[in-house]
Amino acid sequence: MTTIAALGHADLRRLMDLQLGDEKHTPSATSTLDVIWVLYDRILRVHPDRTDDPDRDRFLLSKGHGPMAYYAVLAAKGFIGVETLRTFGRYDSPLGHHPDRNLVPGVEISSGSLGHGLGIAVGMALGLRARKSAARVFCLVGDAELDEGSNHEAIVFAGRARLDNLAVVAVDNRSSSYGWPGGLAARFALEGWSTTTVDGRDHAALERAFGVEHVGRPHAVVAVVESKA
């Protein structure tokens, strides 16, 4: 009998390297690698056999760019086959340079155009709360993605709606053209969010940040990684 060894964090770079053709977005992909790994490895209540469980946690890769890290984690966790990674970007591949929820098991939203995921995440959080589900919504945005005004419609409203089943992780690699004076966390805190800023490469710190209690408030984790430059 052939057994397949479980894949871990150490395998992710190799899995990313199987995906060729979007090198332009390699910094984007690598910036999110540890955050997505910690979420899938330690935080999210999801399983590849139950991708339609109504009470699963939801992870939304809002920025969509550079999904090589995302696909690598999904492969490591059994949502997609490792061999599928080699098809990245091909005409008939399920794995595009921006993800499509209708093609990839476990992918919650089709993304790529910036500034869409957080609004959908707010709707999901409202829906899950109305259904009295214990499921949580985690939405990953980039610091440059936050330039899009639509995010701020969602940030303001989520604070007022006290959506404590919603968490945003803002991966900050200083790629926003005009930056965020006072830091990204301040933008969320102003609207009533709980905030934590951590080293986006420190798995233990990320795990603690996602575990912060935030009763009655949405939670923003600012994950600082090396600059894009």
Binding site: D100, S110, S113, H116, G123, L126, G127, S150, F157
Partner: protein, 295 residues
């Protein structure tokens, strides 16, 4: 139609726990019982129309049937990419219910006029577009939409026909059979079209479902080779649908509707209809001109 919408939507929220209403300030306070009893499903996001559509998509992804509501420019044009991506590309449904039509609130000027809404949504795949001509039809179409998970656009207007017709969602209604030409009257333009053609020997089809276009009924009812398309939004919005339906039939199309110009007039929708030839007199002139070329 607008008042009837609030009554029906409130009833649907109370009767079906899948129904959610997402507002962006427009329409708040108009469904007081539902807003009070089902505050978790009647959601006002403030003046944030991009969020309004995103929230609807998220609700749909968690098992709800969202109704999104605002003025047409703010329900269709401002969040257009959210309609395309959050709903369309993600492949989830919602019912977008607009008021204001092409120029119901003409006095507010171009910012509140939306004669291009149906053309815009027609450019996206998978949308069902309803253009009722009477409050009873609007009620019927909203209830029909609520029973599905489709992407539906329901275009409400101040202008209304005197009587509701026994319409069937998705179908053209045969209003009158004639011999010389086929006239397709859309939504609230049925009454002026009937007045305009009262003494003309033409078939009149009544369209309340603009998309998907009912090619079968048009082909079955085709009279002569002239099709006059009367639409209360951008002229020619459905011309390609008619041409496609009749691709193997010799035909001509006269498209009557709102011209594609930068509108800078205020006043009332009645004045705009008259200016654009969408009152009975204007429609008659266009139909007669098209028929004369037939002779």
């Amino acid at each position: 139609m607008r008042e009837r919408f609030y009554v029906t939507a409130e009833e649907l929220v109370g009767a079906d726990e899948r129904i959610a209403v997402v507002l962006a300030d427009i329409g708040t306070g108009r469904m007081p019982d539902a807003e009070r009893a089902h505050a978790d499903r009647v959601i006002n996001v403030g003046i944030r129309e991009q969020l309004m559509v995103g929230v609807a998509a998220g609700l749909a992804m968690t098992g709800f049937r969202p109704i999104v509501h605002s003025f047409a420019p703010f329900a269709v044009e401002r969040p257009f990419e959210m309609l395309k991506i959050d709903l369309g590309h993600n492949d989830v449904g919602a019912i977008v219910v607009s008021v204001g039509a092409s120029y119901d609130t003409a006095v507010y000027g171009r910012t509140h006029q939306s004669p291009e809404d149906v053309a815009l949504l027609s450019a996206l795949p998978g949308w069902r577009i309803y253009v009722p001509g009477h409050p009873t039809e609007a009620d019927q179409l909203l209830r029909a939409a609520a029973r599905t998970d489709e992407r539906v656009y329901l275009r409400l207007s101040d202008q209304s026909n005197q009587l509701a017709r026994p319409i069937a969602p998705g179908r053209l209604h045969l209003e009158r059979r004639g011999r010389d030409a086929t006239v397709i009257a859309t939504g609230p333009l049925l009454d002026p079209t009937l007045e305009a053609t009262a003494d003309l020997d033409v078939t009149v089809l009544y369209m309340t479902t603009a998309r998907p276009f009912d090619a079968d009924t048009l082909r079955a009812s085709l009279t002569g080779d002239l099709v006059v398309l009367v639409e209360p939004y951008l002229a020619g919005t459905s011309s390609a649908e008619v041409a496609s339906a009749l691709a193997d039939e010799p035909h001509r199309i006269a498209a009557i509707g709102v011209p594609n110009v930068e509108h800078r007039k205020y006043g009332t929708w009645q004045e705009h209809n008259a200016a654009h030839g969408l009152d009975a007199r204007g429609i008659r002139a266009r139909v007669l001109r098209a028929l004369s070329r037939d002779a």
